[in-house]
């Protein structure tokens, strides 16, 4: 076994299905103990990448090493060192929470005494110890997801892969799941690789890569990404929006857009700009608000569209796909 500095090391990883390039040569490194997020719309290639890293599907190009093992040359070596939580449930609903974990422990060849020690620990961590004897089919969506996270951690993996860990859960449960994920990050020296299409969730990551159409468009810490966008968004309501818009253009060389609420424009240092606005704008100001750039703005800046628009277009792409195939087969 070689000593690798990165826990996850990806070079030019590719996956194509016929003409469809799901992942087009992505490269990145994840350091030990880091929480790394893959952010992008549905259909951008996030799940395909995660499946390749987990040795579930074979890449068609490039290479990837996870926990020091090559995903194509030593898949079993990789599998033993990773924990997985999928988008879709993978629990046996007719078994109890405890039985699901016992099954996992044996499948992962955990020594009996260590399983006996780890099972209560992980169940406690996700707050399901009291419900350990309950059949999983009686659990709520949030409880099931927590149980999956507990199971993913049971065999003390070096890397935990979370594919859309909160998809389909209500906002309150999502917050709770994130509490658990942060707890485990503090408790266990573990590297976390996650995918999400929720912008707010990406904020929990140490570093994120934004992926669109199978390519990484940018990669950095959430703060650095937002700082790179630079400009704050200012929303302004005045007594005469049309005149204010003209004045902004003449005096500040700022192009504002009219919205149903008033005017919106972007400036570099929002907080310093607002006092000038009050002093120099010859129109009465009713309200003003400054918004820091969000990851939505980051995504917008790098892809030229909002994540919502990207999602509907990639949905079209997926809808198109069977037709493409049908045409080819003719």
């Amino acid at each position: 076994m070689e000593l690798a500095e990165s826990t996850v090391e990806v070079r030019g990883l590719e996956k194509r299905y016929g003409d469809l390039e799901a992942v087009r040569g992505v490269s990145f490194d994840v350091a030990p103990g880091e929480t790394f997020g893959f952010l992008g719309p549905n259909g951008a290639g996030k799940s395909t990448t995660i499946s390749m890293l987990c040795t579930l599907i074979r890449p068609t190009g490039g290479s990837a090493r996870v926990a020091g093992f090559d995903v194509t040359k030593n898949p079993l070596g990789v599998r033993r060192r990773i924990g997985l939580v999928f988008q879709d449930p993978t629990l046996d609903e007719y078994l109890t929470a405890l039985e699901n974990l016992q099954f996992h422990a044996q499948l992962y060849r955990m020594p009996r005494d260590r399983a006996a020690e780890r099972i209560p620990a992980v169940l406690e961590m996700v707050g399901l110890w009291e419900r350990r004897k309950g059949l999983v089919r009686t659990f709520s969506g949030g409880m099931k997801r927590r149980l999956e996270i507990a199971r993913g951690l049971l065999h003390s993996p070096q890397v935990l892969f979370l594919d859309e860990p909160t998809v389909g859960l209500d906002p309150q449960t999502r917050v709770h799941i994130w509490d658990y994920i942060q707890t485990l990050r503090d408790r266990e020296a573990i590297t976390i690789f996650l995918t999400t299409h929720y912008m707010d969730e990406a904020e929990y990551c140490g570093r994120i890569a934004i992926i669109d159409n199978g390519e990484i468009v940018t990669m950095d810490t959430p703060d650095a990404l937002k700082a790179a966008v630079g400009k704050d968004r200012i929303e302004l309501r005045t007594e005469d929006d049309a005149r204010a818009r003209r004045e902004l253009d003449e005096r500040f060389r700022i192009e504002a857009t009219t919205t149903s609420e008033g005017l919106t424009f972007h400036v570099a240092e929002g907080e310093e700009f607002v006092p000038r606005l009050f002093a120099e704008l010859p129109v009465g100001i009713k309200a003003v608000s400054i918004a820091r750039p969000t990851l939505d703005d980051v995504f917008m800046r790098h892809t030229g569209r909002t994540i919502r628009d990207a999602e509907s277009s990639s949905a079209d792409r997926l809808m198109m796909n069977p037709m493409v195939r049908a045409r080819r087969s003719r």
Binding site: H104, L107, A189
Partner: protein, 295 residues
């Protein structure tokens, strides 16, 4: 929320991930993986009492309603109970339906995601298949044993030797049929296809096995077909055994237990069972190969 938080800190020791899993899967690891897959099947079966009862309803109906109804039509010499003839067939039937049902549960596992938990584990696919097969075979044998208890009602003696011999053949039948089910199920992606499997494979297999009628005086085309049904060989082997212990008169044996012939050659019991072992091994091998190839 707060209570869980405090309990968490107490319960979670600060352990760094330890990699103490030795590399390279040995046969013992595979065995352990197979055992846990087997165990899950048993737990699920024991929890589903309704399934145990409903899958017994059909064979009981066949034996006591169809069998009793047919008895006066089919003239069996010497007042011999026709249902004694049907008994091995009905046991095979119980095993057939339970085994196929268990095997096809792999399609359910796929549908509800649990198959993924098994597929991503660091174990060989073959081990999972063997565990599944052992689980299905155990469950099917258990159902068969419940039917075996009814033996006395249809004039099959409770001889310990007979029971031991039948048990052995039942385990073999159950293994072969579960392997057959897994072989079919390894490729099935949707639950809906289960109906197709039943209509296309299971029912013909049952009817061609000679479970409810003797297969010696059939028209050539049908008689030829029965020889391709592996279930026919176990039914024949079990019937031979039952008739021996039930002291069936020679006249009865001539009509109801003529044995299976290959171009005039009467297959001895040992050859019949040997054939079934081969078929079982081939099917299980095929199921493993298919399962390893897909996904």
């Amino acid at each position: 929320m707060t209570t869980t938080a405090t309990r968490q800190s107490a319960a979670m020791p600060d352990v760094a991930p330890v990699v103490d899993l030795t590399e390279g899967a040995t046969w013992y690891d595979d065995l352990r993986a197979a055992r846990v897959v087997w165990k899950r099947e048993i737990i699920r079966f024991s929890r589903n009492r309704i399934r145990i009862l409903t899958s017994l309803a059909q064979p009981v109906l066949f034996l006591f309603v169809l069998g009793t109804g047919l008895a006066p039509v089919i003239k069996v010499p010497g007042g011999f109970d026709f249902r004694t003839f049907m008994f091995p067939g009905v046991i095979a039937m119980t095993i057939l339906f339970t085994a196929i049902f268990s095997a096809v549960s792999i399609v359910w596992d796929r549908e509800f995601g649990f198959l993924r938990e098994m597929l991503v584990a660091p174990v060989r696919r073959g081990a999972i298949m063997i565990g599944k097969c052992a689980g299905g075979a155990t469950v099917a044998t258990l159902q068969g044993i419940i039917m075996l208890i009814l033996a006395g009602l249809v004039h099959v003696p409770y001889s310990p030797l007979l029971i031991i011999e039948l048990l052995g053949m039942m385990v073999l039948t159950a293994t072969m049929l579960t392997a057959f089910g897994l072989f079919l199920a390894a490729r099935i992606q949707e639950i809906e296809s289960f109906q197709v499997v039943m209509q296309l494979f299971v029912l013909p297999m049952f009817f061609l096995a000679g479970a409810v009628f003797p297969i010696n005086r059939l028209p050539t085309w049908l008689g030829t077909l029965t020889r391709f049904d592996p279930l026919a060989y176990v039914v024949d082997a079990m019937r031979k055994t039952v008739f021996t212990y039930a002291h069936a008169p020679r006249t009865v044996r001539r009509t109801l237990d003529p044995g299976i012939t290959w171009g005039g050659w009467h297959l001895p019991l040992g050859v019949e069972l040997g054939l079934v072992v081969l078929v079982a091994a081939a099917l299980l091998g095929g199921a493993i190969a298919q399962f390893t190839r897909t996904e």
